[in-house]
Structures are given as structure tokens and as C-alpha cells.
Assembly symmetry: C2
Homo-oligomer: 405 residues x 2
């Protein structure tokens, strides 16, 4: 049997990323999305010489002439138009965030002042020009790029959008995704299964994994009937950008998915990957001839819960990240905490518990009961990716990591 290696599978998937275009959203709803425009400074930051300590604004010249007691002319509040120091031997009380009054160039904080009878008195030998003043344009100049295109938006970017008045921002559009389970053995979560049935769970796990990427996926269930599968999948291929399947891709009598996809002209790019779990994974695409419509992408994951779970992290996540313009390389790594042996000539996705130790991320294997044991995932934080060219993995070695918490 001709198995695709994990590396080959990854390359094929990344070479088939799809651009879903751009949309505009309210800035406050853009966290977790990918920015598709440069954000520039609408004015200098700070936009004026800004007082950065509460105190008095004076003219340095007056201080240098020996004046230490300053008559208070008024108060320069934040949010008020700029005042003018009329007599440069006087002072104006000035608040954090306020404009520096005209004719002043030094701010002395309240902690160093005594205020009495309308005079502020200081006991200092020297002051520095523009002390306690955040000078206009010091942080950024008007038209500087503050956030480049293709940045993943976090709370930090939200603050900048607000500051420069971007109430709407351009972001990568999300693909339309449907997650499809198949199998006569599956009943709904709210139902009580007969002895030979189980409840649907993989579609909901996938829904959650996609929600982590801000994708709201639809779901469907189709019974193991070739005609029904063909009709429904044809309509999904028409309506959605991405189809995720769980199950029916192996050697069983009712594993119709590869055949049905073939009948519907979905090109198989690979089937069966040199990995455990998730070997029967099938991946393909359907090129759409109409203009302005992009290719349809099909990830058909094996039906075992852990296979579906890890395949989504390992393949769908980077494919999606590349599609929307993010860096798609997984750079996460962890240190194996104990020796581990895995004989088959397959890449092994080992379930691990993570722990920080002296700035290092330590991965401890969690004994599992195979790819059917979803409850085992509850005790794990991540998968450590052990390569197929070795069977003996040693304590202290570093391997790529796929986290899900």
C-alpha cells in the first residue's frame, strides 16, 4: 500500500490553500481575525506635547533665572483647549493627558511642590527641558504604519484601531465550512442510543476546534447510503468552500466517501497517511470552472475520535492559516519527559500533558487506549509529533507539538 508521508501530506495541503477574499467588520468584533489592510497613524502620536505627570507647567527660562515660586495662572485640564502662560514667570497647573500650555516647556510633579495661597513653590536645583512631557510625534509620526497587513488581531491591536479611529477594519473572510458525519451507528446527543449505537461526537469536537479559529461551521449527518451521500455531498460542494468529513474513508463495506467524492469529480490528492492515529485520512479538491469562485477543499478524516481530532490540528489548522495569510509553520515544540518506544514505521502523534519548568515546556506521555478513546484527550493538553524514522525516543529530546488548550 502506497502511504503518503506526513511531510508530503503537509506539502500537498499547503500547496492547495485557497484565498477566500476580504470583508469589513466592526473593529470590536475583529479579535482572532487576520488584518487585510495596513493601519496607519491618522496624526502624530502623541498628537500634541502631552503632560505626563500631574503638576505645574513652567518656562525653563524662568527657573534658570532663579525663580522658585510661581504664581498659578490657571489649570490646564486634559480634554481642554490649550492655554497660554501669559506671564512666563508664572505657572499653570497641568494634568496628565493635557496639552502643554503655550510658553511652557517643563512640568514639575505635585510630589515636589508646595502649593499655598495661589503660589507653587519648588525646592530644586535643576530641571530638564521637556521633563514630564511626552513630546508630539515621539511614539509615531502621522502616516506611519502602526500595524501591517496580515497581522492576527489581539486586544493590543483593538486599542490601536480605536486610537486611530478605525471603527471598521478589513479582515480575511472566513471560508464557509460544513462538517459532515456519516454512519448508521450514530444518534443525536439528546437521544438514548440502542446497544449497538453511539452518539455523534466528532462533528461537535470539530465545531469547537473550528470555533478556536473564529469559524462558525454548519453540520450535517448522512446515513451510509451511496445515493443519499452523492446527492447531499453534491449540494454541499455547491454551497460550501470546505467540507470536513469524519468517518467512512477506510476499507469497510460502507466506507463510501472516497468513491462518492470521485463520482462527484473531487480530485483525490492523497489517501492514507503514514501516521497513527489517522492513517485513512483522505484529502482532495474540486476545481470550480466559474469565474470568481475558488476551489472546494475536502478533508475526509477517519472516524475515530482521536484521529479526527489530531488530523484537524495537524492539517486543517495550517491549511486555514496559510489560506488567510498567516504564518502557517508550526513552531511549537516541547521536551519529552521520559523515554518512549513506538515500533511501527509511522509518524506517531503522542498524547501528552504539558508543564513549564525553568522556561522549558515539558511533555509527559499519557497512556491511552487507542484512537477510539476520546476521554483520554481530557487528560492531555497536546500531541507530540514523533517522526517515522525512529522507534526509540529519548528523554530530553525536542519534538514538534500540537496544542489544543
Amino acid at each position: 500500500m502506497n502511504l503518503t508521508t506526513v511531510k508530503e501530506a503537509t506539502t500537498i495541503i499547503l500547496n492547495n490553500s485557497v484565498n477566500f477574499g476580504i470583508e469589513e467588520v466592526d473593529f470590536i468584533n475583529s479579535v482572532g481575525r487576520v488584518l487585510k489592510e495596513d493601519i496607519v497613524a491618522d496624526r502624530d502620536f502623541p498628537p500634541f506635547n502631552r503632560v505626563s505627570m500631574d503638576g505645574i507647567a513652567i518656562a525653563e527660562e524662568a527657573f534658570n533665572k532663579g525663580i522658585r515660586s510661581f504664581k498659578i495662572e490657571g489649570i490646564q485640564a486634559a480634554g481642554s483647549p490649550q492655554l497660554t502662560l501669559k506671564n512666563t514667570n508664572n505657572c499653570i497647573e497641568a494634568m496628565t493627558g493635557a496639552m502643554l500650555p503655550i510658553n511652557s516647556d517643563v512640568v514639575i510633579q505635585y510630589e515636589l511642590l508646595e502649593i499655598k495661597d495661589g503660589f507653587a513653590t519648588v525646592n530644586l536645583d535643576t530641571v530638564k527641558s521637556f521633563q514630564n512631557i511626552h513630546k508630539k510625534g515621539l511614539d509615531r509620526k502621522q502616516n506611519d504604519v502602526l500595524i501591517p497587513k496580515n497581522t492576527l488581531i489581539s486586544a493590543a491591536e483593538i486599542g490601536v484601531f480605536a486610537t486611530v479611529g478605525k471603527s471598521k477594519v478589513k479582515v480575511a473572510k472566513q471560508p464557509k465550512v460544513i462538517i459532515v458525519s456519516t454512519g448508521n451507528e450514530l444518534v443525536e446527543v439528546s437521544e438514548t442510543p440502542a446497544e449497538y449505537q453511539i452518539r455523534r461526537s466528532n462533528v461537535y469536537t470539530l465545531v469547537s476546534l473550528l470555533e478556536n479559529l473564529q469559524i462558525k461551521a454548519d453540520t450535517a449527518h448522512i446515513l451510509d447510503d451511496k445515493k443519499t451521500l452523492e446527492t447531499k455531498i453534491a449540494s454541499f460542494l455547491n454551497e460550501y468552500d470546505v467540507l470536513l468529513f469524519s468517518g467512512a474513508v477506510s476499507k469497510g463495506k460502507f466506507d463510501f466517501i472516497p468513491e462518492v467524492l470521485d463520482n462527484l469529480d473531487v480530485e483525490k490528492l492523497f489517501h492514507k497517511v503514514k501516521q497513527r492515529p489517522g492513517k485513512p485520512f483522505w484529502f482532495g479538491k474540486k476545481t470550480v470552472v466559474e469565474r470568481s469562485r475558488s476551489a472546494k477543499t475536502v478533508f475526509a478524516f477517519p472516524g475515530n475520535p482521536v484521529s479526527t481530532f489530531v488530523s484537524c490540528l495537524k492539517y486543517f489548522y495550517p491549511w486555514y492559516n496559510k489560506s488567510i495569510g498567516l504564518n502557517f509553520e508550526n513552531k511549537q515544540e516541547a521536551v519529552l519527559s521520559e523515554d518512549f518506544y513506538f515500533k511501527p514505521n509511522l509518524t506517531y502523534f503522542l498524547q501528552v500533558k504539558l508543564q513549564q519548568e525553568n522556561g522549558k515546556l515539558i511533555a509527559t506521555p499519557i497512556a491511552g487506549k487507542g484512537s477510539g478513546d476520546l476521554t483520554n484527550l481530557v487528560d492531555s493538553d497536546a500531541f507530540l509529533e514523533l517522526p517515522d524514522d525512529n522507534s526509540n525516543f529519548t528523554k530530553g529530546q525536542v519534538f514538534p507539538l500540537l496544542t489544543f488548550r
Copy 2:
């Protein structure tokens, strides 16, 4: 001036966590929430002896008698009631996920079979009892606790909820939070500020930081007027569990928040922390006398964007985590990439860029322009917490980390 240390501030905040109770939500909407019930197995897992490879089910006894060619009696599909192998010298084709037919105890996969004219022939010397069969109850027994109370829910838990039929789950209720900005200098994001004005940004940053915790906060803005502040804050104290302020807690003429909170019987637990940025941080609570209502908690952060941002991560996050029953200790750490000098006797929250190297998390300082420079956060991934008892920090040293991406 009597400054509270970062450690003291943290202890006080954690000692004042609040239990917001429990609510029930649809399981599919529970990701990121904290589970408030034990999830138990509603039956054994697997619930029956489950075929784990597509192939034929036979009786081991027949194989041991020397039979290698088995007449096919039928097909045991997943999702079908259990069949019986009528003649134990025969076989039944059995699919992954199906019940093991009665009278069979071995499954041989298709890869090792030749099927012709209604017979399946194998060329093997031995088989193992229950090979390719995932035995009933092997993973978990009925009534086993699968997920304990107080687990933070991820996609892995969603799959288990579905499997055991928990269409609704009990989770920690979220606090009702309002985020309040003050200051006459602030205008709305969609407005064009006058020269002396700036746009509101801190409230939106805080909204995003709280969304990371699945909290949907309300927002408000109040001008620097003591009467208005008192009236509005009184009503917020009545309506909300938590009030977050940004600004008006320092020494300025219009920094009315501490005074107003005092007038409204909000007990000050500390004001001013030995840290940069964020020194003027004020924290307090209002005990509510009515039964069945919990205390009101007030975090009054300084108005500088970076001060607000880091204080939310450092103080609100662990307070909230402890309140809902999560482990609140920050265990994240990183390795300083270069020597760093910080003279003042304050805990310094250093903005850093993170990078993985051989399983280690390396933190590189990002030169900033002070706590007013929000755009600087865009270039950073986290804050490294440098303690106040030192000024010279050395390359390779490990410090606590507050991440925000």
C-alpha cells in the same frame, strides 16, 4: 508614600475572589467555560465489544481446529443490531465500529484475506483472542468520572459531553462586568478628535481582554464631574458584580475616582502598587448586606494604555480564574534573551517578543516609549515580570510571563 508590593496586591486580590454561582448552558456553547459538575460515563466505553478493523469475525476455536477458509454468513455493519454466527466454522464480515457478532471472538482484517465465491480464506499460522476487537468497558466503566468538576472546557471535553449525552452542562456563571472610562479628553472611535482630544481606546482593549475569558462586558463613559460620577457609579454598583475603571486614579485635580468610591462606601483595599507601569492602580470592594448577593469588586486601573493592559492581565485575570474555580497561579515563564537594566525599586513589566528555541521560550525585550505608547504592544507578545529587588537582569535568567496572544 506607602506603596503596596506586587506580591501583596496579588494576595489581597486573590483573598477577595467572589463566587458568582452556576448556570446551565448548551454543551456546544461551553468552550472556555469552567465545568461545575462531574461528567460520568452513562454506560461502559466501548459500550459493546467493538470491531476495530474492517474484516471478518470468526470463532478462534474454528481457527485452532485448522479451518482457514470460512463461508461468509452475512455482514455485521456498524449501527446494526448484533448478528449471531450460526455455524462457528463460518464467518461474518464485520465493519469498524460494529458490534462483534455472537459466537465470534477474533477479527481478521481485509488486508490478510482473500475473498472469493462467498468464502474468506486466510493464510496465517496464529490468531490472538479478541484481536482487532476493542473490548466492552476497556476505556471506561459505567459511572466512572470522565471529567471532574472545575475543568476548563476545550474541544476535547465537548466530544465527551456529546458521547455521554450531556446536551446541557453546568458551568461557572460569569460576573456582570462594566468597563468605565472617564476623562473629558476622550471622544468616540468614530469621531474626529479636536487637537487636544484623543479617542477612547482603553475600554475597547479591556472588552477584548475580557472576551478572551468569555466575558461580555458592558461599557460606559463618564465626564470628569464629581456629581455625575457619583450618581452613575452608584447605579453601576447596584447593577454589576465588577466595575473596571481606566483613569482618574492618580494625583490630578480631576482624578475623582478614589474619592467618589470612598463616598459610595467602596472599601479601598489598596491604592498604588510598587510597579511600572501601573503604579496608581486602585482596588477595592463593596460588601453587600442583602442575602444572596455577593460583594462588588472594583478594579480602578491607571489611564495609560499599557498600564491598563498589563494590570488587567496581572490582576483581573487571576482574580477571575480563582473566582470561577480555576487554578489561578500563573505558571508561565520565559528566558530573558539579553541583559537588561532597570533601576527604580519597582516591579517592572517588560514588553517582550516571544520565540521558541529547542523547547525553551525565549523573551526578547522590545524597546518602548513608556506606558502611553499603545502601538508598542503591537510589536510585543507578552510582559516579562522583573522583580523589584534587583536592577540587573541577566541573559538566561527565567522570569514569570504574562502573555496576551
